[in-house]
């Protein structure tokens, strides 16, 4: 078992969830409630990583992260280091690759909150913030939980983007998914099998937990 790779994977998945959660809630709610020109385009951009081959996304990020590219040089001027082949680089790539997984479940959940419920809360004297915290958030909670779980599980499994941007460096950018690939390359099938089984177990547990929780909630309400 490659514990270093596991810890890189867990750190990557945890941080991806942490950063994407506020973005997901804000963008998900905005897309669910607001009507504006170009909303379709916005939704398409958010969904794009779902259908884009990881190599395509990885290729563009590799170019943008380079020291001569605008994004890469901006990053270098702030931090002094590059983005390619670093943990920061794969984290940024992971945030982009996971946008649909973090935003879509939350957007669906907000869409299911009736508009008149919000208006009723405002009429009862609750401020928009109080309405959000005390009325909306408890209702969309299963959506947020799904978003977190999907993002977490998907990050653990992400391969193509991370490999292209990260370069599989031990302790820094070699995630468990890539370590499995490396083990197979090294003809260590037992090692690969053990790590694969762990990844399968973690993914299944994460998803099972969420669907279980969401399902019980539906059942209680129904």
């Amino acid at each position: 078992m490659d514990w270093t790779a596991l810890s890189v994977s867990l750190r990557l998945a945890g941080l991806t969830c942490l950063f994407l959660l506020p973005i997901g809630v804000w963008l998900g709610r905005t897309l669910a409630t607001a009507h504006f020109r170009g909303k379709g385009l916005c939704e398409a951009l958010v969904a794009l990583p779902l259908v884009l081959p990881p190599t395509v996304l990885g290729f563009y990020l590799l170019q943008q992260f380079g020291r001569d590219a605008p994004l890469g040089s901006m990053w270098a001027s702030f931090t002094g280091g590059g983005l390619n082949f670093t943990f920061s680089g794969i984290l940024l790539a992971s945030l982009i690759a996971n946008l649909p997984f973090a935003i879509q479940p939350i957007q669906r959940a907000f869409e299911n909150v009736p508009t008149n419920l919000r208006e009723a809360a405002w009429c009862s004297g609750l401020s928009p913030w109080q309405t959000f915290l005390r009325i909306e958030l408890p209702l969309v909670w299963p959506g947020i939980l799904s978003a977190v779980a999907l993002t977490f599980a998907h990050t653990l499994g992400e391969f193509g983007v991370i490999l292209m941007v990260g370069g599989a460096i031990d302790g820094e950018t070699r995630t468990l998914a890539i370590a499995i690939y490396d083990r197979v390359q090294a003809f260590d099938e037992q090692g690969a099998a053990r790590m694969s089984a762990l990844l399968l177990l973690v993914s299944l547990t994460t998803l099972g937990l969420v669907y279980g929780l969401a399902g019980r909630r539906r059942w209680v309400r129904g």
Binding site: L15, F85, G171, F187
Partner: protein, 255 residues
């Protein structure tokens, strides 16, 4: 909330495996370099992080600023190109000359003939005429030196066009060997250093390809400007007799 933020900061700031130098090595060194690194660690107490892959990919990554401290290429031209472009300070040194071998799954086909090492290829072509597709594995000639050598061998033997429908390409020579030993394959042209490894010798039968059939596989290594003391020590160690003996055991020529 403040505690949560603090926890997050700690999480982000957690050290990322600081210290041990990262070595980028051609995948045909998988076993030879693992053994060398182990010996080096025993003697000096310094650990190394080994990254195996295709030399062409590493050459690109180093040009893009990847944090490798030492690069062991399977083809010296990649090291020379890095030097010419100013990514490394010198041309490095030759550390071994690699050999190409034909490898096939053990016991499934007529054993390979040392006097006609490409018999397997001919038989696969003959089988295709009977409607049976037996795959021939080579490494990608686009970025893997052993793929280039394999292409030269097939071209010189006049078999490049006829094997076109049979060829499968590995991303690097290690994956190529996996393809070569898989159920659908007749065999493949791979690095001799890999088939000699104990884990694989029991699964495969192989025969050496004469060195004159392709451009010599001069393997060159170079330190990058980021190289620290440990990487420099390992670079020097690899040029000494003990390391050279290990390389010879894995079928490399080190004269």
């Amino acid at each position: 909330m403040r505690i949560l933020l603090l926890a997050c900061l700690l999480f982000i700031a957690a050290p990322v495996f600081a210290g041990a130098p990262i070595i980028a090595a051609a995948s045909n060194l998988q076993f030879a370099l693992e053994e060398s690194a182990e010996r080096f660690t025993q003697q000096t107490g310094h650990t190394l992080r080994l990254n195996f892959g295709s030399s062409g990919n590493f050459r690109r990554q180093i040009a893009q600023g990847a944090p490798f401290e030492l690069f062991l290429s399977a083809n010296e031209s990649f090291v020379k190109a890095l030097y010419q472009e100013g990514h490394v300070d010198n041309e490095g040194v030759l550390y071994a000359r690699g050999r190409l071998a034909w490898a096939q799954p053990k016991g499934k086909y007529p054993p390979p003939d040392p006097h006609a090492p490409l018999n397997g290829v001919h038989e696969a072509i003959a089988a295709l005429d009977e409607g049976l597709r037996q795959r021939i594995a080579i490494a990608s000639p686009e970025h893997a030196p052993y793929g280039v050598a394999a292409q030269e061998v097939l071209q010189n033997a006049g078999l490049w066009e006829t094997t076109e429908p049979l060829r499968i390409q590995g991303e690097n020579v290690s994956q190529t060997l996996q393809f070569a030993l898989s159920d659908d394959a007749r065999g493949g042209l791979v690095a001799y250093s890999l088939v000699l490894a104990s884990t694989l010798s029991e699964r495969s039968e192989f025969v050496l390809i004469p060195e004159t059939w392709h451009t010599p596989l001069y393997q060159r290594m170079v330190l990058t400007p980021q190289a620290g003391d440990v990487a420099q020590a390992f670079y020097a160690w690899l040029q000494q007799a003990e390391a050279q003996t290990i390389f010879q055991q894995y079928g490399f020529n080190t004269d």
